[in-house]
């Protein structure tokens, strides 16, 4: 009887949920599309400002002695020279991005092989100006190289004498993956915890408080179905929906990382299957924990509104331990972190993403998650059996 009733409740709840366009939209469509859209916009705007600087590198040169440097810069195609009488004001207003002030004795110093001074003005509060600054700096570097080579040549010395060591930088991650992996290890733990909370939220509210508000709870409780069977059926339905919602968010996230022109510039990150399985398992368990917790709160509430008011602070509270571990480096996380609720989840996910499988850490974390789930389910069971909760007035 028990199993049949659980199945019956489970299937009915899923049918009910899937017919609700609002819930489907909020828990599947939005999570699926939010990241691709967000990153497309972010990436697009970054791309745009980069292009703008490249195409419109407006520079003013204040040269008191028609120096060789200013001629060198004149010959650079990318630079757009602009006349300016008040460089500081023009930089602030954005009319020019950077300004060079070349002193009158610049060429003399170069010829005399003395360090020559050069002032480079830019707006350190503007991203475009900063980009222009680094572009112009590297042109000045190129000019310096030319000068050095001339000096060495005059002394009959080979140019490569000054670079005794040539570094061939090789990365452990495929070069284009490094950035993506780094971003992922920062963002994913945080996001997965948040998804595990928000995923089951709407459904939990509907299946607990909603049942009270619609007046379906009383007839439901007078059927032969035991309260525990009702609880389990609802719990599994919430878990499934929470998981689907989390998967939708992850899919959106992965898709957005592969997006050309997005923030990640299509830097595909390949995650090993075992890592994916472990991350999926952690997410499933965490969703179960929050699902049970939210269902307990929801059955205590008298209405949808009340349930939402009680449940939404969960997101903020959970954010604290998760955010506290946000910047930790996966390679040296101390063991005590794995005893802190949610911080342990965030840390273990970080390790998985970095390809670290520390069995002590895994053991501690999974033991805790199981304890969290058991506690939350027992709490839900307690709430379902209390007259004061079910018939709260």
């Amino acid at each position: 009887m028990g199993i049949n009733v659980i199945k019956l409740v489970f299937l009915k709840e899923l049918k009910d949920i899937f017919r609700d366009k609002k819930t489907i939209f909020m828990s599947l469509v939005i999570p699926l599309t939010i990241f691709p859209l967000l990153f497309l916009v972010l990436g697009g705007s970054m791309d745009k400002s980069m292009k703008q600087v490249e195409e419109n590198l407006t520079v003013a040169i204040v040269d008191s002695g028609n120096s060789s440097l200013s001629q060198f810069l004149h010959n650079q195609e990318t630079i757009k020279l602009v006349e300016s009488t008040d460089v500081e004001a023009d930089i602030k207003s954005g009319k020019i991005l950077v300004a060079l002030e070349i002193p009158a004795n610049f060429d003399e110093d170069i010829i005399a092989e003395k360090p020559a001074d050069l002032a480079l003005l830019y707006d350190n509060s503007s991203q475009s100006s900063q980009m222009a600054f680094s572009a112009v700096s590297s042109m000045v570097d190129a000019y310096s190289k030319v000068v050095i080579e001339e000096r060495l040549l005059a002394r009959d010395i080979r140019g490569d004498l000054l670079t005794p060591v040539v570094i061939d930088a090789r990365t452990t991650e495929k070069e284009e993956e490094g950035f993506g992996k780094f971003m992922l290890s920062l963002m994913l733990p945080l996001m997965l915890v948040i998804f595990s909370i928000t995923g089951p939220m709407g459904v939990a509210v509907d299946l607990g408080a909603g049942e009270k508000e619609r007046g379906t709870l009383e007839p439901l409780l007078t059927t032969q179905a035991g309260r525990l069977s009702l609880l389990w059926g609802k719990f599994f339905a919430i878990t499934v929906m929470g998981l689907l919602s989390t998967m939708a968010s992850l899919l959106g996230l992965l898709f957005s990382m592969r997006q050309e022109g997005g923030l990640f510039q299509g830097s595909a990150v390949s995650i090993e299957p075992i890592t994916l399985v472990l991350i999926g398992l952690v997410t499933l368990l965490l969703t179960m924990f929050f699902g049970a917790l939210e269902l307990s709160i929801s059955i205590y509430a008298r209405s949808f509104k009340e349930a939402q008011t009680y449940i939404s602070p969960l997101t903020m509270i959970s954010f604290i331990p998760t955010y506290a571990t946000y910047m930790l480096d996966a390679k040296n996380i101390e063991t005590y972190y794995f005893h802190i609720p949610l911080a342990n989840i965030s840390c273990i996910l970080k390790e998985f993403l970095a390809g670290i499988y520390n069995f002590t850490h895994i053991g501690i974390t999974f033991a805790w998650i199981i304890i969290y789930i058991i506690a939350a389910v027992l709490f839900a069971r307690y709430m379902f059996s209390k007259e004061e909760v079910i018939f709260r007035t």
Partner: protein
Amino acid sequence: MIEVMELSKRFRKILAVDGISFHVAKGEIVGLVGENGAGKTTTLRMLATMLKPSSGTAAVNGYDIVQQPGQVRGEIGILFGGEVGLYDRLTGRENIGYFAELNGMTKAETSASINELVKLLDMQEYIDRRVGKFSRGMKQKVAIARSIVHNPSVMLFDEPTAGLDVSAARIVQDFILHCKQENKAIIFSSHSMSEVEKLCDRIVMIHKGKIVEQGTVAELKGKYRNDNLEDVFVQLVGDNNGN
């Protein structure tokens, strides 16, 4: 049949139901009347095993509500007033079927029972549409069908006509009489003395959780030499408040 024995319920400080005893035979409609907060709903919820009695007990078709709540639930059907309590996104048939199957009926039994009820309540036209857009009267019929789909032997009605217009209330009243014909034991709570007089074989008057009087309509009218039951009720309640 229902046998209520010294049934009491205490909520923290309030003694909501205070040692009430009465009996309902098969095919009998007993009216439960009392002011707001008299303890009618609490009594019915205990009979339906939603609340546990603080002391005393009741037997529903021989099953004890404390010892055998599962069996008791198999014997009862409830129709409580206020919200009809249907799932808007399910069809009428799905709403009724869900409760039938929760009561342990097979798919075949469920479908046969629903088909019969659809005919009885004249719901052919809309039974397979989603309940969300139904009129109040249509919803009421679905709720009625749901309460009886598992063919219970005892029916509990808690102010089932509260907030209904005349024709919707009529549907409910006819349904209660239909249950009587099917020889079910029925408890029916209401504020409307005329409705109670019209439907009930016997009346149980409760006040502040205690029974102040019970008997058939004729008995009560004779005993208090008053043809108006409302006057009788007000007098009894007033007497009880006076001391």
